[in-house]
C-alpha cells in the first residue's frame, strides 16, 4: 500500500507495509537522518516532527502519517546548523548518532517555550533523547548558549 504525506515540505507518495513504523518508511525513502537506535521508543534517535510536534517515529505507525506534515532535521537544516555550531563548539556531539533526533527536539523545545527554559525544564523536555557518549553536561552547556544567543537575536 502507499501513503501520501509531506516530508520536509515536499509531497510524497511512498510504499509501506501494514504495521510498519514510520522510521522504516522514511529510511527506505532515503531519509537516513532518521536513526534506528532501540526499536522500543526509548532512545529518541528516530525523532521526527509530525505537524510540528516531536514524535518517536519507531513507535509511530506509518499509516498514521497519511496526510501529515513530517519534518526531519534536514527540513530544518538552516536552524540545525546554528545549533550544530554550539554543540560542536562544546565537543558534545561525540559519535553523533543521537544528534539529529536530539537536535530536532531542541529546535522543537525552542519553538514551544516563549522564554528561555531553565536547566530543569531543558533536562525534562529532552529526557527522552538518550546519549551514551557525552554524559549530557556538554550538551546542556551547548543548549543553554544556543538558546541565549537565539533569544538575543
Amino acid at each position: 500500500m502507499n501513503i501520501t504525506l509531506r516530508i520536509n515540505g515536499k509531497q510524497e507518495s511512498i510504499e509501506c507495509l501494514p504495521g510498519e513504523m514510520l522510521t522504516e518508511v522514511l529510511r527506505r525513502a532515503g531519509h537516513f537522518e532518521v536513526k534506528k537506535g532501540c526499536d522500543t521508543g526509548n532512545c529518541g534517535a528516530c525523532t521526527v516532527l509530525v505537524d510540528g510536534k516531536p514524535v518517536l517515529s519507531c513507535s509511530y505507525l506509518a499509516v498514521r502519517a497519511e496526510g501529515k506534515e513530517i519534518t526531519t532535521i534536514q527540513g530544518l537544516a538552516d536552524e540545525a546548523k546554528k545549533f550544530a555550531a554550539f554543540l560542536t563548539a562544546e565537543g558534545a556531539d561525540q559519535c553523533g548518532f543521537c544528534a539529529p533526533g536530539f537536535a530536532l527536539t531542541v529546535l522543537a523545545m525552542k519553538e514551544e517555550f516563549s522564554s528561555i527554559p531553565d536547566e530543569a525544564q531543558i533536562r525534562h523536555y529532552l529526557a527522552g533523547n538518550l546519549c551514551r557518549c557525552s554524559g549530557y553536561e556538554g550538551q546542556i552547556r551547548a543548549i543553554k548558549k544556543y538558546l541565549e544567543a537565539q533569544h538575543a537575536e
Binding site: 536513526k35 532535521i73 556531539d93 561525540q94 559519535c95 529532552l126 556538554g138
Partner: protein, 796 residues
C-alpha cells in the same frame, strides 16, 4: 586543610609552558565531522547499504546450552525471494576468537563462526538471506531446528570444575599459555606475587578484607552493530562495518574462512559509539558468508534485542581484596583475588582479568608485598568482551572499597590514607614490569603523575571536610561524600602499533591517512590537530581519512586507551618526517643547505631572506612545474609505545540516600583528571563526562538479568535503562596541567579513565552515610534497603 607532608611538585617545567603557545593543539576545535553528523548526513554503515543488497537475519538459539541435531531449511527456502540458508555445515570448522586483539591473540580460539553446539540464548545457529528484511525475518522463523537440550551452567561461582563441561569439543586451543583448561570450565588463569603476601599480612598490625561483586554491563552504543559486504570489480570481498579494529577483523575473517588476507578489504565509516562493544566480530562473518555464497551484496543490522542478547557484556567479577597496614596507615601488603565470568566464550578473558590488577595495584606502589590471582570461568551466558575500563573498573572497585575500610578502621581521612601510599611522579611499581596484558609487562618510570593536584582540586570543588562528610537534609534523607582515585593506561606497550601517512597536495594542503578508528570520540579531529600543529598549518589544511585496510596505513584499532598516545605519536612522527622532507626539497630548489631554510607561516625562506616560496606555490612546483625533479612528497611513520603512561583521576562524589526507600541519587560528581596535554580539551572533557555517567549507571542502575533457564530478561532499553538527562545532578570535570614527555605534545589517554571510579566512590559515600558497606552491584533501592535492614538487625 592541606597536609604538607607530601609537597605538591611544581608543574612540569618549560615543556608544559610551551603547550600554552600551541596554535592548534590544546585548542577546543569542533570535530571535523560534527556538523554533518548533527544534520544527519548519511554516514553510518546502515546509511550506506547498496540498494540491491540482500537482507540477512540470524536464527538464534532459544536454549542456554544445546546440541543441534538437525536444521531443516526446506520451508524457508520455499519462500519466493529467499536467497539462502547457511549453517555450520557450510563453512570450514576452524576455531577462532571473535576478540579484536593483537596477533597471536591472548584469547582462546574456542569459537566457530557457526557450530553444532550453542552455548547461550542468542548464540548463532543459521544465516538466512532474502530480498527484503520482512522476508528474511519470516524465513528465519521457518527454519526448523531440532535441539538436544543440555543442562547449562549459569552461576559463575559454580562453574569451576563443574561436572557440566561447556567446551568439551576437540580442536579448540590457546595461542600461547594463558591457563586455558576447558575441561575445568577455565578460559584463562593467572597468578603473580611480589614479596611474601601471607607473611607481610600476618605481620601487619591492621588488616582489612573486602569482597565486591560487580555485575555484567551492556555497552548500549546507540548505533547497533551493522555490516554490509559486496564483491568488488577485482573479485575481492569488501566489508563495510561498524568496527573498532579493521585490521583485526580482516585477519580473523581470513582465518575463519581460510582466505588470503589480500582478498579482503575492511572499511569503517562513522560509528555510533563503541566503548569496546565493537572490538569483536559479531556481524561481519555472516554478511560475508552470504556474499560469498550468492555473489550479491548483503547487509545485517542487529536489532537492539540482538545487541543485548548476542553481543558482549562487561565481565562480571568477584574481587576479594586484603590489605595489611601499620597503625599510621602505611600499607604493607595487598592481596587481590578475582573470579571473572567470561560467559560462553573466552573473548578478552585473560586480559580483562589481568588488567583488574595491572591497572590498579601500581596506584599503591609502596607496599612490601603484593599478590594477584584467580580464574576466568565459562558459563552459559552471553560472552563478556572488551568494555571501557576493561577489568580496571572491577579491580579498582574492590581496591578502593578496601582502602576506605582501612581508613575507617584507622579513623583517618581516606584522602590522607591514599596520599600517604599512592604513586608519585618519578616513581615506579614492580607491577608494571611483571603484569602486562596477557604477557609480561614493561618496566616503566612514571614521568607524569599529577594525582596530588587532582586530589587537591577535587577537594576544593566538592568541599571535602573529613569531619563533616555526612549531614541529614530531611528525616531519613542523608547527604554524604565519598571518594576514590584511579589510573588507566595509554595503549598496550610493545603490542599496539599505529601508523600515519601524510602527503602534500596541490593547493598546499595535506592528506592525512590513519588506520586509527574514530568511534565518535573525535580521533580524526585530534589526529588532524597534531598534524596541523607540527606542519605549521591550519586545521582546514589537513584532510583526514581513516580506517580502511586498502587505503590507510596499519593501526591495531581503537581500544586500550591507545589512539591519542599510539596513533597520535605516529601522526606526530609522520608530520616531523614530512617537514624534514619538505625543507630538503625546497633547499635543493634554492641551492642551499636544509639548515639554511626557515619554515614559518606556511612559507619557506632562506635564512638570509633572499628567497622565499609559499607552501602553496611549492606544492604546484613539485607536482606540475619542476620537470624531472617533480615528485610526491609524503611521509609514513609508525609508533609502538615502549611504555603506557597512565592517566590519573581523583573522584569526589556527593550522594543523597533515602534510608526509607533505599534510593541513592548522585548530587554532584567531581572528577579532576591528569591526561597530560589534552589535544582537544573539550573533547577530552566530554569523553570523561560520558565515562563517569556510564560508571554511575553501573553503580546504581544497570544490570544484565537472566531467568533461571538462562534467558536474558534485560534485553531492551526498557528493561535495561541507561541514565537519562534527568538521572544525575551535576557532573564536573576539570583537567589539571600535566605533560607526559613520551606522548605526542605531552598527551596521554582519556578514553577509559572516566568510567573507573563511580562504583567505588559511590559505595564509599554510602558507607560514610550509613556505616554499611554495599558490595553487590548495582545499588538498586531494593538492595540498599536490604543491606541497611540487615545491618540494623545485626546491631540489635
Amino acid at each position: 586543610m592541606q597536609n604538607n607532608d607530601y609537597p605538591i611538585p611544581l608543574p612540569n617545567d618549560a615543556k608544559l609552558e610551551a603547550t600554552k603557545q600551541f596554535n592548534v593543539v590544546a585548542h577546543d576545535l569542533p570535530k571535523v565531522d560534527g556538523e554533518g553528523l548533527v544534520l544527519g548526513r548519511p554516514a553510518y554503515t546502515d546509511d550506506l547499504v547498496p540498494p540491491n543488497a540482500l537482507y540477512v537475519k540470524l536464527v538464534r538459539s532459544p536454549h542456554a546450552f544445546a546440541r543441534i541435531l538437525s536444521i531443516d531449511p526446506t520451508d524457508a527456502l520455499a519462500l519466493p525471494g529467499v536467497a539462502c540458508v547457511l549453517t555450520w555445515k557450510d563453512i570450514p570448522r576452524i576455531p577462532i576468537t571473535r576478540a579484536g586483539q593483537g596477533n597471536p591473540e591472548p584469547s582462546p580460539h574456542d569459537r566457530f563462526i557457526l557450530d553444532e553446539y550453542v552455548r547461550y540464548v542468542g548464540d548463532e545457529v543459521a544465516v538466512v538471506a532474502a530480498e527484503t528484511e520482512a522476508l528474511a525475518e519470516k524465513a528465519a522463523g521457518l527454519v526448523k531446528v531440532e535441539y538436544q537440550k543440555l543442562k547449562p551452567v549459569l552461576d559463575f561461582e559454580h562453574a569451576l570444575d563443574n561436572p557440566i563441561v561447556i567446551h568439551p569439543e576437540p580442536g579448540i586451543h590457546e595461542m600461547f599459555p594463558i591457563g586455558f583448561e576447558p575441561k575445568r570450565n577455565i578460559a584463562a588463569a593467572y597468578h603473580m606475587e611480589i614479596g611474601d603476601v601471607e607473611q607481610e599480612l600476618a605481620a601487619s598490625p591492621v588488616k582489612v578484607e573486602t569482597t565486591v561483586h560487580t555485575q555484567a554491563q551492556q555497552h548500549v552504543a546507540l548505533e547497533p552493530h551493522t555490516a554490509f559486504s559486496y564483491i568488488d570489480l577485482q573479485g575481492r570481498l569488501v566489508i563495510v562495518t561498524s568496527t573498532q579494529n579493521p585490521w583485526h577483523t580482516r585477519r580473523l575473517l581470513g582465518l575463519a574462512f581460510q582466505m588470503p588476507l589480500r582478498q579482503i578489504r575492511i572499511v569503517k565509516p562513522r560509528i555510533g559509539g563503541g566503548f569496546g562493544g565493537k572490538q569483536h566480530i559479531h556481524v561481519e562473518p555472516y554478511v560475508a558468508m552470504v556474499t560469498m555464497k550468492t555473489g550479491r551484496p548483503a547487509s545485517l543490522a542487529l536489532t537492539r534485542r540482538e545487541v543485548f542478547e548476542a553481543t558482549f557484556t562487561r565481565h562480571e567479577m568477584r574481587v576479594k581484596v586484603r590489605l595489611g597496614a601499620n597503625p599510621d596507615g602505611k600499607l604493607r601488603a595487598i592481596d587481590m583475588q578475582v573470579l571473572s565470568n567470561t560467559g560462553a566464550y573466552g573473548e578478552h578473558a585473560l586480559t580483562t582479568f589481568m588488567v583488574a590488577g595491572s591497572k590498579t595495584l601500581p596506584l599503591y606502589n609502596k607496599v612490601s608485598a603484593v599478590r594477584f590471582g584467580g580464574h576466568v570461568v565459562y558459563t552459559n551466558k552471553v560472552s563478556a568482551g572488551a568494555f571501557r575500563g576493561y577489568g580496571a573498573i572491577q579491580g579498582l572497585t574492590g581496591l578502593e572499597a578496601a582502602m576506605d575500610e582501612l581508613a575507617h578502621k584507622l579513623s583517618i581521612d581516606p584522602v590522607e590514607l591514599r596520599r600517604k601510599n599512592m604513586l608519585h611522579e618519578g616513581e615506579t611499581s614492580e607491577v608494571f614490569r611483571i603484569m602486562g596484558e596477557g604477557t609480561e609487562g614493561v618496566a616503566m618510570n612514571i614521568e607524569s603523575c599529577k594525582l596530588e593536584e587532582c586530589i587537591a582540586r577535587g577537594k576544593e570543588l566538592i568541599g571535602w571536610d573529613f569531619t563533616q562528610l555526612v549531614h541529614e537534609v530531611a528525616p531519613g534523607v542523608l547527604r554524604a561524600k565519598g571518594m576514590a582515585i584511579a589510573m588507566q593506561g595509554s595503549g598496550i606497550p610493545l603490542i599496539d602499533m599505529g601508523s600515519a601517512r601524510i602527503e602534500l597536495q596541490d593547493g598546499g594542503f595535506f592528506k592525512l591517512h590513519v588506520g586509527a578508528t574514530d568511534l565518535g570520540t573525535g580521533s580524526d579531529t585530534i589526529l588532524a590537530q597534531i598534524a596541523a600543529e607540527e606542519l605549521g598549518v591550519d586545521m582546514e589544511d589537513i584532510v583526514v581519512h581513516s580506517s580502511d585496510t586498502d587505503h590507510t596505513p596499519f593501526d591495531v584499532g581503537a581500544y586500550a586507551s591507545s589512539t591519542t598516545y599510539v596513533s597520535g605519536s605516529a601522526v606526530l612522527k609522520a608530520a616531523r618526517s614530512l617537514k624534514t622532507k619538505l625543507i630538503e626539497a625546497v633547499a635543493e630548489k634554492f641551492g642551499v643547505a636544509p639548515k639554511d631554510i626557515v619554515y614559518t607561516q606556511k612559507t619557506f625562506m632562506t635564512a638570509d631572506g633572499t628567497k622565499s616560496l609559499s607552501l602553496n606555490d611549492f606544492s604546484y612546483d613539485t607536482l606540475y612545474h619542476d620537470g624531472e625533479k617533480m615528485k610526491t612528497i609524503e611521509a609514513t611513520e609508525s609508533f609502538s609505545g615502549s611504555k603506557s603512561p597512565p592517566p590519573y583521576l581523583a573522584a569526589f562524589v556527593e550522594i543523597e540516600i533515602d534510608t526509607e526507600t533505599g534510593k541513592v541519587n548522585v548530587v554532584h560528581y567531581v572528577a579532576v583528571v591528569d591526561v597530560g596535554t589534552p589535544i582537544n580539551p573539550n573533547l577530552a572533557k566530554v569523553q570523561i563526562e560520558g565515562g563517569l555517567l556510564q560508571g554511575i549507571g553501573l553503580a546504581l542502575y544497570e544490570d544484565v538479568r537472566y531467568s533461571e533457564a538462562g534467558h536474558m530478561l534485560s534485553h531492551n532499553m526498557m528493561t535495561y535503562p541507561i541514565p537519562s538527562r534527568e538521572d544525575v545532578g551535576r557532573i564536573t570535570v576539570e583537567l589539571v596541567d600535566s605533560y607526559e614527555p613520551s606522548g605526542p605534545f605531552g598527551a596521554k589517554s582519556a578514553g577509559e579513565i572516566g568510567i573507573d571510579t563511580p562504583p567505588a566512590a559511590i559505595a564509599n559515600a554510602i558507607r560514610n552515610a550509613t556505616g554499611v558497606r554495599l558490595t553487590e552491584y548495582p545499588f538498586t533501592p531494593e538492595r540498599v534497603l536490604a543491606a541497611l535492614k540487615a545491618a540494623k538487625t545485626q546491631h540489635t
